[in-house]
Symmetry: C2
Subunit: 435 residues, 2 copies
Amino acid sequence: MRLAAVTGLVLAAPAIAGAAAAAEGHSRFGPTLFALALLVGAAKAGGLAAERFRQPAVLGELLVGISVSALWPAVLGGEGIAFVRSDPALLFLAQIGVLILLFDVGLEADLRALARVGLSSLLVASIGIVVPIALGWGAAAWLLPKSPTIAHVFVGAALSATSVGITARVLKDLGVTKTREAQIILGAAVLDDILGLIVLAVVTAIAAAGAAGLALWTVAGILVRAVLFLGAAAVAGHFLSSRIIRLAARTNRPETILVIGLALCFSLAYAAELIGLADIIGAFAAGLLLDPYGRGVRPGQEAATLAELIHPLSSLFVPLFFVLMGIQVHVGSVGTLSAFAFAVVLTLGALVGKAACALGVGAGTNRLAIGIGMIPRGEVGLIFAGIGSSLIVDGQPLLPQSLFSAIVVMVLVTTLVTPVGLRWAFARRAAKGRG
Amino acid sequence: MRLAAVTGLVLAAPAIAGAAAAAEGHSRFGPTLFALALLVGAAKAGGLAAERFRQPAVLGELLVGISVSALWPAVLGGEGIAFVRSDPALLFLAQIGVLILLFDVGLEADLRALARVGLSSLLVASIGIVVPIALGWGAAAWLLPKSPTIAHVFVGAALSATSVGITARVLKDLGVTKTREAQIILGAAVLDDILGLIVLAVVTAIAAAGAAGLALWTVAGILVRAVLFLGAAAVAGHFLSSRIIRLAARTNRPETILVIGLALCFSLAYAAELIGLADIIGAFAAGLLLDPYGRGVRPGQEAATLAELIHPLSSLFVPLFFVLMGIQVHVGSVGTLSAFAFAVVLTLGALVGKAACALGVGAGTNRLAIGIGMIPRGEVGLIFAGIGSSLIVDGQPLLPQSLFSAIVVMVLVTTLVTPVGLRWAFARRAAKGRG
């Protein structure tokens, strides 16, 4: 039924576009290709510039997107930017970027290491999920009392997910990956990813079901489905992972494992959708299935790992996602007072909410480092914002443009603050240790 | 004007699809993702199976596509296959596959080596272009007298382009890459690619301009534009190539050159479209620009080459193109007597047309090997067929389904025949040499 509806829609499009293109003697992909070239190039330039200032690449990619959004209409008119914002082929490639990103996170997640740090991480992660959701929900309800409750919950959920990548990168730069603090942060971050995805599953399903879906049993049903889906992927991974890799190795072609991996990633993304979860949960599950203990999948001793094979793909499509996220920000909308207030309040909520994680560990540990290490919201917060603004409830996007922009600002600030803060927290401790 | 038209079309699509998807609580890419996973997986399996039988992978990918096309409607109904045949996101990814393929061919092309084999190759290549066009044109005019002349020319053009990859692979397998015959074949194949692209530029432009475009001065105009475009790319490559690579090397990131390369590939594809040429000409020009002498672009001594970085991308998207080509074949249409006759006549024309290349070299050379080595039509023939069937002239596809299928059969047969024939030709010569 749903497939049929989609089929009907997409069948119509190429026929018209094809006829129009043929009439003028051009294939229909030229403008999309050019936009793709510009966006990927600009995103890469932004990412490299950010790294030159010792900032995460995602920051540069977002800022490039926001700059394009701000400057394009003035320079080139509104038509081109409208095309870039809504071209289905570009959006599809960006979606492939997010799926590859989450697949990669799933590949790197190590369920055994998680079990080792265990309780401390679980406590830190739980605080880091619950407090930001509560703060975000409360702030949204206070600032936008007329929006539906589900919109408030969505804002809270968008504040909840820590971005492992940014913290891991900074810890590595500081050479403190082996400290107890780093282990707890990284363990909590993996749990945070999983819990965040479950929260996403719950809120998107509720949003789709409408207000009626706020019944507790619906929430419980989605929760159970998400947990079972991820659990099944982990169990399947324990038993099947090495068999799949051996099978791929028998073809003597490195790209076989790449094709198997991506086919699994896209198939489980579809499967997750079919049971009412977000597609990125399926992508994460595929990564978990192929490499449940984060050892690095490689068919043969000297072969490249799957993560290495995916790198060229992700270096192309992941920045595309972030630059398009930046472009979706209507800069004018942040200029209004209310939108600016949203941004300030949400950012404060995001900072305080994760700093509360420090309360999850004993006095012997560097609490400041843990509180700051959990702060960055990167890709996952943006994914929440993207899904929230694409969900239509009662004919309106669930997240209005002002909230979407506020979430992007929150992501920018938390990402900016973390590297500086973490360096300071570890340096302070070291100074104390010497004192 | 054109951009505006396309923008309008694509703007409408996501709004509708988005609303439909949101109403049912799903993102709109699930079915496309699943189809992508299935197609890429099936194509890879077919390619690996073909290689196990010492056949080129493209053969297996095409056959898998044709099998899917034949079996799917009976097993799963017509709706799914219609979706796969026309989903714009899948078609866009397949188009990216072709562009990457031609970019790669451009990277490998060595203009200096070409100058060395010089006259012999030029003679062989010219015969190999002119004779098949004449035979294909004649055959189409004989079999389909009512079709417009441009359709006849298009069939001839589709017979003209040799597929370098298949012959190069077989020559390597036989260990005869250094022989004079191999050098002439490979040189002629590069020229053949360039001449084939120019022929494509001319015929697509004429088809788009309609019957009036058959005026000689139009043909000359396109010819001049295509030659200037490729010439400009070669000259720019001579002066800029090493500077671009040094620039990329300064970022210390291997993916920088990948992003630059693909951005250039997609931009020149768009530029080629804008001046009325096919987008693949732009992709080939981008490869020529970055590496005019086929030396292998690498930013730094131990860095991976651009071709290596592209490999994961091409191993995903190129098979997608071929499997979709196979799926476009309506198997029932080859079953009719007239379509079967087309296939037989075109295949004979293709074989005889390239065998004529043997006349281009002196008696001292292994003429048989050269005649057979020029036979395979792979990707380029299929690209011609794909463009021909997507061009709409007077409300009808330029190439009817029966001719499209006949061209695919021709590609299959010429590809199958070459490895066997080349082995025989070199073995025969070796036996004579001993006798």
